[in-house]
């Protein structure tokens, strides 16, 4: 009975984090971008910096008509947002927050996380195809091309940490982590973060949704709640990517008073990374498709391979 209750509690906590954190990141993005670009946007709703605008936007999304284009493949069209969102929820289950604080500690956590994250992109592909819209189809194609280019460096960088720690368990990796890894695994960390951004289609890698040329890519035909789900998937993706980078490369819960305040350290590091994601969006222009592919195949893949070799050599030398 206790076990069942504990399991339910863990699942509830993960669900709560899944519902709250993406919204926090979304709101931070609105406000940080507004101030960086000196165009404040809605500032009155709710008083302080217009925080209640988020609620108003949510209500607006829920009120809108749910339109399915006449020529679309209705089943696939309706299923796509769920396919895009749910993998990120599932991934959160395996991410350790503090020492022993993890919903489900998996022996193969790293593998589980990257495997399930890869499924989310099917949602964008389904949306792009089922919308019966040229722009959506183009968006879907670009999504697929981008995923194929960036999945490889993403995996190679993750493999480097797993090699260094000698385990595939996420908690195990954090336990093994030492401060000098920051330097040792630095190229891998950069590759991982950049490739992750590209998989999430965040600016400057937002070619698949480039609004000035293909409207909004695979999500062009979506309205109301289904559209909101896609947006939520994007922010949930940011949370998952930042949490993963924290766990793999920044030492997760390590910091002063790690025993009692470990979860806070993980949260702070994740949020700082999320801010960097937003910052990058405001700072860099969109990459062209050929630049995207070149960056991955000629930049990130060689760096990731070098990192892998470096990890191997150092690992042999110190053991």
């Amino acid at each position: 009975m206790i076990d069942v209750l504990e399991g339910a509690l863990r699942v509830l906590l993960v669900l709560g984090a899944f519902l709250v954190l993406p919204l926090v990141v979304g709101q931070t993005e609105h406000k940080a971008m507004a101030h960086m670009q000196s165009r404040l946007g809605p500032m009155y709703a709710g008083g302080f910096h217009g925080w209640a605008q988020l609620v108003a936007d949510g209500v607006k999304f829920a009120q809108k008509e749910d339109i399915v284009p006449a020529a679309a493949d209705a089943t696939v069209f309706k299923l796509a947002p769920a396919v895009a969102l749910i993998p990120y929820l599932v991934v959160l289950v395996a991410i350790p927050v503090g020492p022993g604080l993890v919903a489900q500690d998996l022996d193969l956590g790293l593998f589980f996380v990257v495997a399930v994250m890869g499924v989310g992109v099917l949602g964008s592909l389904m949306a792009g195809w089922a919308s019966a819209n040229k722009f959506s189809l183009l968006g879907g194609l670009r999504t697929a091309a981008q995923l194929m280019a960036y999945e490889l460096p993403f995996l190679l960088a993750a493999a480097s940490v797993a090699m260094a720690a000698g385990t595939l368990s996420l908690s195990g990796i954090v336990q093994q982590w030492q401060p000098w890894w920051l330097l040792w695994q630095l190229p891998g960390a950069v590759v991982f973060f950049v490739a992750g951004l590209a998989e999430l289609q965040r600016p400057p890698f937002d070619m698949p949704v480039a609004d000035s040329e293909i409207i909004f890519g695979a999500y062009t035909e979506y309205t109301g709640l289904r559209f909101a789900l896609f947006l939520l998937a994007e922010y949930a993706g940011i949370v998952v990517l930042c949490a993963l980078t924290t766990v793999l490369f920044l030492g997760g819960w390590h910091g002063p008073y790690a025993e009692s305040l470990g979860w806070l350290w993980t949260l702070i590091k994740t949020m700082v990374l999320a801010f960097v994601v937003i910052w990058l969006r405001v700072s860099y222009p969109r990459l062209r498709e050929d630049q995207l592919q070149r960056l991955s195949w000629q930049g990130l893949v060689p760096v990731a391979l070098l990192q892998l070799a470096l990890t191997g050599v150092v690992e042999v030398l110190i053991t």
């Binding site: 493949d73 696939v76 022996d107 193969l108 593998f111 992109v121 195809w129 697929a144 091309a145 194929m148």
Partner: protein, 177 residues
């Protein structure tokens, strides 16, 4: 029980892959098939194989397949001309049944009554076990396979690059000058 359920899902969606008249739906049913097979692996304690299955097949192969379909033609709705002739269908069904028969017979025969030992620290099928098996007793076949894959990769690059092919002059300009 769960295993039987997953098996039914895998076989059912597998049948749908080949019988559906919607081109893209076939690819999407394939996702379900591969996912169900991954679930079966999980239940057999082969965690490593299960996640590799999801990572490589669902995450990469199906995406590549969908990419190819969308790049060439992916009509919404049924495409009737996809059906092969009656004779071909029968031949395919017979072949599939025969392969399934041979596989089931040999698997049942060789693993009858085998049990998975779940008591130890490192259960068969965990990452450590798989790693020790591959880089221990099976290291030679592993290396041969990797060499084969490397050769295939190099071959693919050579075939796709016009500027380093044995016939460097493009076909359409040869007669001109």
């Amino acid at each position: 029980m769960l295993f039987a359920l997953l098996g039914v899902v895998a076989v059912g969606s597998g049948v749908l892959v080949v019988t559906t008249r919607h081109l893209v739906h076939a690819a999407l049913w394939l996702v379900l098939t591969l996912g169900a097979v991954a679930g079966c692996f999980l239940l057999l304690s082969a965690e490593f194989v299960a996640w590799v299955q999801v990572l490589i097949y669902v995450g990469a192969v199906v995406v590549l397949l969908l990419f190819g379909l969308m790049l060439t033609r992916a009509p919404i709705g049924a495409s009737d001309e996809l059906d092969s002739s009656r004779g071909q269908q029968v031949a395919a069904a017979v072949t599939a049944a025969a392969v399934a028969g041979v596989l089931v017979a040999s698997l049942v025969d060789s693993f009858r009554g085998a049990r998975i030992d779940l008591s130890g620290d490192h259960v068969a099928g965990s990452a450590r076990q798989a790693g020790e098996a591959i880089f221990g007793s099976w290291v030679l076949p592993f290396e041969v396979l990797s060499l084969l894959l490397l050769a295939a990769l190099v071959g693919a690059i050579v075939l796709s690059r016009r500027d380093i092919s044995p016939d460097p002059v493009p076909l359409d300009t040869r007669s001109g000058d």
